[in-house]
Symmetry: C3
Subunit: 140 residues, 3 copies
């Protein structure tokens, strides 16, 4: 049994879903590990992780617009407003999605379904550099 | 340290929660592993995983009806409508719950609380065959 | 490769977020493990786990009030009312957040971002004793 750490850096340019499935698959392939468990952990509280459909980009747009309406900006409920109108909604949207994902892998490939992609879900408007910590544990 | 892969196939007949705790517990027992980590990963983006109360079935019904109202069909916000009125809401409901669950096990049993069951949460209306990838890593 | 189990007991006194990052970090440090994967699993269906900002306490208050409004008490939709008006909303709020968190650790420290804390999210009003099962797998 062997393990490996890595950090994916993802540059975002506004709210939306950023597909980094290929980067993760390439890292896994380069590791030489064939069977085990892969874990991704986003190191921020205003961005999140999500597995969603990679076929029709409208799914990603609809999901983002749905969350934007469900968790609106400038809600009088918010007291945390110092970091801008998009910050507190970003925290809530992150809380409603995922901070971490673990995906088993087999014969060197993640057990993702055919239509599944791995996305960083950026909830803030500014261009940012996001870090996703990654961990592999498995056997060759 | 030893590991094991499996795929649970769950036939669904419409929206709702499908308890497959016993299947998972039996697979774990048959593995002979006593201490370690079990991971479940749903290979779809319109169904999800959830740990919920296994005592009063009304909890499951209330949860399902709450999500159905929160994420309605035929919302004018949706652009992704080609796969039917229940498809885009299914993606959103899946995003708001879980794609993956990891549960430690000890002395051959998952550390679930007394009232906790493991459910596949089906968000589509049609009868479908769903796959949940499963992974064990641990010691005898 | 070595593993370790533990149960964190957290006494709650009403709804809100309870930070137990230090307890987890101390347990990890005491284990002597330096590289691996840490998993937390809440053994209840009316409380959940969440990683959120540890800087401005208003973030936690806003998040709690947002969920309280999104998933209100005394909703005529609920059939499960026997355990009190706060019980069914607690199940829904738990379903919308997380039951489990896995966090890689490196050089003896969890790969949390600077502003990230680990919280038990209590969704019930009564004072309760909650259990979070914890598992470490890794190397010295």
């Amino acid at each position: 049994m062997r393990q490996l750490h890595h950090t994916f850096e993802i540059s975002t340019c506004g709210q939306g879903l950023y597909n980094f499935t290929a980067e993760v698959a390439n890292w896994l392939a380069a590791s030489g590990l064939r069977d085990g468990l892969l874990t991704l952990f986003v190191r921020h509280t205003s961005a999140s992780l999500i597995v969603q459909e990679n076929a029709d980009p409208d799914v990603q747009g609809d999901l983002q617009r749905f969350l934007a309406r469900l968790v609106p900006e400038n809600d009088p409920l918010y007291r945390h407003t110092l970091e801008g109108p998009d910050d507190m909604p970003a925290h809530v949207r992150a809380a409603l999605t995922q901070t971490q994902l673990s995906i088993p892998f087999r014969a060197g490939r993640m057990v993702l379904g055919v239509w599944q992609g791995i996305y960083l879900f950026e909830h803030r408007r500014a261009a940012l550099r996001r870090e996703v910590a990654a961990h592999l544990m498995g056997e060759e």
